[in-house]
């Protein structure tokens, strides 16, 4: 990962790290239009100095801003009176028992993204931070503001659900 010497400007982020930022935003939102909105929000936060940069991994910093902006939006939407999915139902998390050739089944990227998008946002964020961005559990826990045990749980249940949805 890149380790910048100084605080990057929003223009630097857009020009040098735009593709990374867009990928993370798309994996989180599952929609190109929402990903574009999320990228704009991230760049605004960088421009306004709302996201404190700490020396270290630039991609880790960007993924933190992106995930926070995404979850802020999710929480804002949840303030409306609607039923939300707080956790994965057991029916989707149950242990899948399948032969090895099933595990090797090929899926279209769109199918995989649809499966990721169907996960509750907090589970999606854990999977994106771990398996797309490549952060370790301590970094994910710190970014999401949750205990490591919660990261373990969300990742494991999210992966099982992901595999099951694509069975």
């Amino acid at each position: 990962m890149t380790e910048p010497d100084s605080i990057p400007t929003w223009e630097d982020v857009a020009q040098l790290h735009g593709r990374f930022l867009y990928s993370v935003a798309y994996r989180l939102t599952g929609h190109h239009d929402d990903a574009q909105d999320l990228v704009q929000e991230v760049l605004l936060r960088v421009q306004r100095g709302l996201a404190t940069f700490e020396p270290g991994s630039l991609e880790g910093w960007l993924s933190r801003i992106t995930t926070n902006a995404f979850l802020d939006e999710v929480r804002r939407r949840r303030r409306r009176p609607l039923t939300t999915v707080a956790d994965l139902p057991d029916a989707l998390v149950g242990i899948a028992v399948e032969p090895a050739d099933e595990l090797a089944k090929v899926h279209l990227p769109e199918e995989i993204q649809a499966a990721i998008s169907s996960l509750p946002p907090e589970f999606r964020a854990a999977i994106v931070l771990s398996d797309v961005v490549g952060l370790d559990y301590a970094e994910i826990a710190e970014q999401l503001g949750v205990p490591i045990g919660t990261v373990r749980s969300r990742l494991h249940r999210g992966r099982l659900a992901l595999r099951r949805k694509l069975a």
Partner: protein, 268 residues
Amino acid sequence: MTDHPGDVLSAYLDAELGALEREAVEAHLAACITCQRELATADAGRGIARGLADVAPPDGFFAQIVAHGPRPKRMLDDLRPRRIGWLNVAAAAAAWILVIAVGRLESDTSAIPATIRPFLAAHASILPTFRSTSPAQTPVDTGMPSALSGSFTLLGYAVSSQGVPHAVYSDGVRTVSMFTERGRLDVSSLPLEARPIQVNARPAWRVTSADGDVVFMQNGYVVVILVAADDTMVEDVASESMTLFDDTIIDRAERAGRALLETFGLRG
């Protein structure tokens, strides 16, 4: 045998355990076929997520931002007028409806109104499951209107073979199945036989297939009418639906159309 490690298995896969915990998991795995399978499933889920490629932004997206500066985000619900608040929840509600449908399928067919049983039977390959609404499942919860064109009442949800929840309405004789999809219709994905029509003086496209009429509207709303329908009915229902929307969301981007076209074998 010790308790199943459960959530710890992914941490084991990711080399996130200390030596003692790792050894305990390995000892358990050596004797537990259930956990071996769960580990394989988690590993497969991890492999799926890790195998995803980078996603390219649209051409010129970042150049435009650099030229003009980042704009305040315009998440869809910022643009939605209050009067169509029920639509705000469409995407989230879709996932919720799907979960309900998967977990609690209606097993008592007597709960399904007799007037729509032939309709569901005729479209069983497309709409394999149906769940009638309950008093607790209000339109606010599900994000769909409780009635269309005055006489069409929401009876429940049918989940398509692609997992898309369709709201099923009936006026006692005719049946309409519809679902929402966010954003702007990708007109290029429409089949050649799509016929342009006007709905409240706005462009829409109508496609007639063996399964019925499908109306695509550019504001990202899709009306699927799964019975032979006359022009008046199609445009009445579409017009009524259209009044629930506001101009400001018309230009939203959308990926709709494609999955629907495939569902109905309409890919051009």
